[in-house]
Symmetry: C2
Subunit: 259 residues, 2 copies
DNA sequence: GGGGAAATTAACCCGTTGGATAAATACTGG
DNA sequence: CCAGTATTTATCCAACGGGTTAATTTCCCC
């Protein structure tokens, strides 16, 4: 859209920060056309790149659009990060770093095993909801058969802390009698991620197929309840109220019917 | 790779079929450079397009490569199907048609409710395994926010027969006492698809993250067993042998350990 | 057996896009 | 305050890629 003029738009003013110094310098001497801000520039480039790659995939992403949306000149991308693929890998690594970092903040050790699992599902679900670009980036990378990820030493060393967390939670749950069986933590982790990921990542096509908006508030709430109930029922053997309604067949609330 | 010569390679000979007539005509008169076969050409184009779109996404797909792999001239794509987007939509519609068609062949009505669910999971899993392009196409379409699907009247009218099938299976299961609760069939359908889809669609990145090959035979078998056990345990309240091993923590079989 | 529509090929067009180069401008240390 | 470096801008371009035009060949039917 704003292809032409945004491209040449300098990071002009940057009012919010460094404003004092900018004003000082400006009135001290001639009016400045632009201002240095390498770190800020790099961040804006990566953010714009993330949005672009998430919205269009690797091949569909346009370097010029990234530059425009970063309020930078195209040359800046190559200067601060590298070529398109470098840019893409940097974005991917940043995305993994971010989720791993948030994961680490979530301590499940102090919770009852069932509560810990619920919290894990809740976190995963909401993280995906809050970061839809992450889903898109993962899909893009899988389309490329993880070609870039394989070359990234950085990501390979960032193991999800969840697997070990889950292992101890499951062990504790079995010992306390809350859980009936010990499940492979990797399988459980993948299953929880799957339940959340697929629903959100494929909500566009699913919404068309089922003729109802899967992203509206009620649908999201219903989904979260379903996932928690499904996993906990399997682990504990006790079904919760939210999992299902009485056996009479077609009596879902109106909101859930296909339009 | 074979960009240059494949492009101009005519659908020469087509030895397998129409061979008799081809031979007749060839020896009757001058040697033929190529042979008419509009339906076959269309099929080969769509097949090549499917592979190309699945491997590279919509933006990454190359029209010339499709032509080359179809053994056709680039002009043929436009002559028989349309431009790149038409081609893409045709492929997408074909993919949906195919899975819906196979789904219809699976009758769950005559099975015990738990068996029916197991069969449903088994089918979904194996269909995705046998048709990896389908997963890639769905991801690509979701990246495009289902933009094309929304415009396809064809796909919108192809409802998955599974939803109603599942509804009756669940009802029967509740009535027979096999299932403890009535679950929303749409949620259950999405969950089953999710468990299968995510694992396979994201196997590339997951394999890197976990440092083990998720697609090798043992891993696939283990996954299928896990999914069936998870869903059935939630529905019936009874855990099966495959779901988990005894409570002792780190004693997964060696095959399951990260390398 | 040949006229003409259908199918296919060959060659070209032109906007786009990733990337490169060199010049201009701001900042920093001495 | 100035010299040298860091950062940004203004252009350029060659390759690519989707799509088109026109000629060529095949085959069906009268």
């Amino acid at each position: 859209m704003n292809k032409l003029h945004s491209q040449t738009l300098p990071c002009m003013l940057q009012l919010a920060r460094r404003d004092q110094r900018a004003i000082d310098l400006a009135k001290a001497k001639r009016v400045q056309k632009w201002q240095r801000d390498p770190e800020g520039m790099r961040l804006r480039i990566l953010e714009a790149a993330k949005q672009e790659f998430a919205a269009h995939g690797l091949a569909g992403a346009r370097v010029d659009r990234i530059a425009a949306n970063a309020g930078a000149n195209k040359r800046m991308l190559y200067y601060h990060v590298g070529n398109k693929e470098d840019l893409y890998l940097a974005v991917l690594e940043g995305a993994y770093e971010k989720i791993r970092s948030e994961e680490r903040g979530l301590d499940l050790e102090h919770l009852d095993p069932p509560e810990a699992i619920e919290r894990l599902i809740d976190f995963t679900w909401n993280y995906f909801l809050r970061n839809p670009e992450f889903l898109a980036l993962l899909n893009t990378e899988n389309l490329a058969k993880a070609r870039h990820l394989k070359r990234s030493t950085k990501v390979k060393s960032m193991h999800s802390p969840f697997v070990e967390m889950i292992r101890t939670v499951v062990t504790r749950g079995v010992e306390s009698g809350d859980f009936r069986v010990a499940v492979d933590p990797v399988q459980l982790y993948i299953s929880i991620a799957a339940l959340c990921f697929f629903y959100l990542s494929n909500s566009a096509t699913l919404s068309v197929i089922f003729g109802r908006d899967l992203l509206k508030k009620e649908a999201r709430d219903e989904r979260l309840a379903h996932m928690v109930a499904l996993v906990l029922a399997a682990l504990t053997g006790k079904s919760t109220a939210d999992f299902g309604k009485p056996a009479t067949s077609g009596v879902r609330p109106p909101a859930h019917q296909p339009v």
